[in-house]
Subunit: 293 residues, 2 copies
């Protein structure tokens, strides 16, 4: 199935599942703030990749919903905290006021904490074996913690206004944004109980896609309008952040972007050659959809 068709079929159903997980029980602003950010939309790329891959491996997609929702909660909390005045100080996200603008700074901090916490409750839900659930808890914690996403955010701040090499930049991004993307791929593999080689290929595809995605973001930040992106542009330069176009030039950044996507496509073929009932079109069409016009 084409990734766009899959997304069309499953995005609403997943979003309904996701927002229903946060009920208004505490009679405080906290659940309102959690839902506000969860419902702010976005492409839901990470959870939809996870769910699509489980479908590509011919497994029940509903089994993937809890892990996918947990992943989206972690991603959402990281955006809330990233937007705070003490961090990136952004007032606009997905075309809407950020959480600390809409609510208060304190509520934004707490709503982020609550989404992060809820993710670990949600990932234990569903019909999987205890063993698989525990593996997902551990993968999620490692991907999003101090050796993963949060460590990457700190490294990203430490790197502001410094001259970084491309390797240093890649290392920061592999943690800051790459680890959650990798979780999407690995969790799908773990859920589908794939063989070791396939899990390793999924890892590498995730890395390639993650770096490509970051290069793409950097390119769009210097070549798009606010209306197209739904967020402030030129933010990288404002924060003195190293970017691929700044380090390599726009043309070489575009080449590197294309190379990473090609490598990911090749590994998708490798999985397809190994597993007979694998639907290679899902990942192939997703990777193709990332390409810049």
């Amino acid at each position: 199935m084409h990734f766009q068709t899959f997304t069309k079929n499953y995005k609403k159903s997943f979003e309904k599942y996701l927002t229903n997980l946060v009920q208004d029980k505490s009679q405080t602003a906290i659940e309102e703030a959690m839902r506000y950010s969860l419902e702010a939309g976005g492409k839901r790329l990470r959870p939809l990749i996870l769910i699509a891959l489980v479908n590509a491996f011919d497994k029940d997609v509903l089994q993937a919903y809890p892990a996918a929702a947990a992943l989206e909660m972690i991603h959402t909390y990281s955006l809330i905290h990233d937007d705070l005045p003490a961090m990136d100080d952004d007032d606009l996200r997905r075309g809407k006021p950020t959480s600390h603008i809409k609510f208060t700074e304190a509520t934004a901090i707490l709503a982020g904490d609550a989404l992060l916490t809820k993710a670990f409750e949600v990932v234990t839900e569903g019909e999987l074996s205890d063993k698989l659930k525990l593996a997902l808890v551990r993968e999620l914690a490692q991907a999003s913690g101090h050796e993963g996403m949060v460590g990457g955010q700190q490294a990203d701040m430490d790197g502001e206004n410094k001259d970084l090499t491309v390797e240093e930049l890649a290392s920061i991004h592999s943690r800051k944004t790459g680890m959650l993307i990798r979780f999407a791929f690995r969790a799908a593999g773990i859920l589908s109980e794939v063989d070791k080689n396939t899990l390793s290929d999924l890892d590498t595809i995730a890395d390639k896609v993650g770096i490509a995605y970051q290069i793409r973001d950097d390119i769009l930040d210097v070549s798009s309008t606010e209306e197209e992106l739904g967020k402030r542009v030129g933010a990288d330069a404002k924060h003195g952040k190293s970017t691929y176009p700044a380090l390599l030039g726009l043309e070489r950044a575009q080449e590197l972007f294309a190379e990473h996507l090609d490598e990911a496509l090749a590994l998708n073929e490798a999985i397809n050659n190994r597993i007979s009932n694998f639907d290679k079109e899902l990942l192939e069409s997703f990777i193709q959809s990332l390409k810049l016009n």
Copy 2:
């Protein structure tokens, strides 16, 4: 065994286990900030209650270390975020500069996020069955999330400068501080695979101790010096917070405090009458130690 003796025997060993869980791998300030707050000390009451109770049920205390460390990480992260300028804006904690004073506000937010995340990795460690580990993951998430501690923090802020009833105050505290104390008791029961009635008694003891602990805190905030407490006093009045002494008068607050401890002691007896190899002295001496001179 007397709780003080137990603490003397196990506090250092637990603290060593706790701080060893955070290694300096990411080459950023984040692990330094995590360890700074983990090592800031304090009485480690919550984890030591958990470990002591497992000992009281005649089980291997080492089995309790991961859950106890996870609990202390959650408690520690909540203090870091609570101290932030947008929250309670405290510059002193346990006699040392708070995280955002020692580091930066951004690093304090991220170190809190990282400790919260790490807690869910740590609680899956050790030799317990997958089933018990998963139960602990769920209990920890529910105790510390939007229906537990974080929701309580929001409710606490919402209640500032408002006239609360004693019931409303109790409801806020039962979430803000009570739920983590309850986790210490429940986790010990779950780990020790106690019967349903005992788990329910542990729940109630935790509630009684939790409320007593809060009344005690409120009383000390109006009747101690900074040197005695190692933190700023009079903070409740400064933030316009309702307290038990303010609502009930100091004398009635002291009575209520004593009543809760007596009820907890009675339930400890009930467990002792039900379980033959239960060491009732551990909890009894802990509850006695809370009493004010």
